[in-house]
Symmetry: C2
Subunit: 118 residues, 2 copies
């Protein structure tokens, strides 16, 4: 994830969550709800985008590979190279139906965004 | 970080933050305030322990290497192999004086906990 030009190379998780996500056209897609971290390696596997709904009702969650997000200071948020239509076909789940984040699931998610699953 | 025996290999950042941290004797050291993530690699560099103080006043922050924490279901929290005395000598900063997380700083933190800085 490319982020803003701060002096340090790290960012705190609470600055990532809640940050808006836009497509390249500038449409707001949603915001980052949480990060899913690989327990062993400590690597952030997914930034989970909350999208749609109203006041948290009926929203879907989209796990995005960390590397698919780029910070844009002009938006004060992340930009992902994806149209709204592409996002609608992306792997997602309802708030209360969190999938098992298996390797197979991870590969499917990463493949969708064209990011190598390592 | 070893964590609980869930079916999946990932854990959400909001389940890590707020979790208590204990030493092996069972003394509560504090709780995880936030995670510091390497922007490029997406790796969690530090889980930041909030320790001491009262109602958030006068607390210090201790960056801990992710690999130094082990989840213990019996404590419903993380355990770090460190006495209170060792913790008192550990790298720390006041809430409002966040250091630049440079490589040199990271090496000092990791060295203190005996974890390789990669």
């Amino acid at each position: 994830m490319d982020t803003d030009n701060t002096a340090t190379s790290v960012i705190s998780s609470d600055k990532v969550t809640g940050t808006n996500v836009y497509n390249p056209a500038g449409d707001k897609l949603g915001s980052i709800e949480t990060l899913m971290i690989d327990k062993i390696s400590g690597k952030v596997r997914y930034a989970v985008l909350e999208f749609g709904g109203f006041l948290g009702i009926g929203t879907d969650r989209y796990p995005l590979p960390w590397d698919s997000l780029k910070y844009e200071a002009s938006h004060a948020g992340y930009v992902i190279s994806l149209s709204k239509e592409q996002l609608e076909g992306a792997p997602r789940y309802a708030r209360d139906v969190v999938p098992e984040y298996t390797d197979a699931y991870g590969r499917r998610v990463y493949d969708y965004y064209g990011v190598p699953y390592i």
